[in-house]
Amino acid sequence: MQMDWIWGLIGGMLIGTGGAVFLLANGRIMGASGIIGGVIDGSGRHNLSERLTFLAGVALLPLLLTPVFGPEQTHLTGDLATLLVAGLLVGIGTRFANGCTSGHGVCGISRLSLRGIVATVFYIGAGGITVVLFRHILGVI
């Protein structure tokens, strides 16, 4: 358990360092939903290659680390309806809110942005209520 926390801290610092590089070098905010969303809805056409190389890095590094540390278990549900509904909610929600855990959470809170803090309170609150409702009351996840 405590080992997980230490890896959490190490991984977290790598995430923050990635955000710092993207900000200080490229002048951009490292928000996963914004970077992906701009590719999907065409709003990021002017810097498409920067978005795609960023996403390539996100996908490729875990693949390169797998031989060293072994494949991470995702424990993702196999229930098709849950996957579809959850994916739609995450896609629509992050684009409406203009940010997710990385954009509002990491990049927003670290500059004490009111929007980032409020967004984080709402998505953690909604996530907590959802887990309690669907796991403990309805017993479906």
């Binding site: 997980d4 995430i15 200080l24 996100v58 994916g87 990049c107």
Partner: protein, 143 residues
């Protein structure tokens, strides 16, 4: 050059998500589940990520990005319908599956295919959002 630094930043982000265990949905749901076997790992990840980011923000004052342009301006501190509604919907999906946009990309190579269903639905939701937003703007005022 911009692509090289974007790849480097993405690589650090992906490596961090992988090493911190944030692509493990049981850790994310375990953190949200305050009535279950609560797992505090996510708080360590968030805290660890905010430290270098806060240093980076402090460094931006009076400077320009290495590769030109300017740093993103601080947004108007406006808490509107889109922010509250969007974050609530996002939180519901995050709780249901334990995945958010970064980890779904980071776990592409070892997600076992089920993550592709989530990814496809997420991309569809992102593609639909401009239409939904225009519809909502017509029917319900934004503020």
């Amino acid at each position: 050059m911009r692509n090289l630094f974007a790849f480097l930043a993405g690589g650090l982000f992906g490596a961090g998500l992988y090493l911190s265990g944030m692509t493990d949905t049981s850790k994310v749901q375990g953190w949200l589940d305050i009535f279950g076997d609560w797992d505090p790992t996510l708080a360590f990840v968030m805290g660890g990520a905010i430290i270098p980011m806060a240093v980076a923000w402090a460094f931006t004052t009076g400077r320009r990005p290495l590769l030109g342009g300017s740093f993103p301006e601080r947004p108007e501190p406006r808490i509107g319908r889109n922010l509250v509604l969007g974050s609530t919907l996002f939180g519901m999906g995050w709780g249901l599956a334990g995945l958010c946009p970064g980890p779904v990309v980071a776990s592409l190579s070892y997600g076992g295919g089920r993550n592709l269903v989530f990814l496809a639905a997420m991309l569809a939701g992102m593609a639909a959002t401009p239409v939904l937003r225009r519809y909502l703007d017509r029917t319900v005022p934004a503020q």
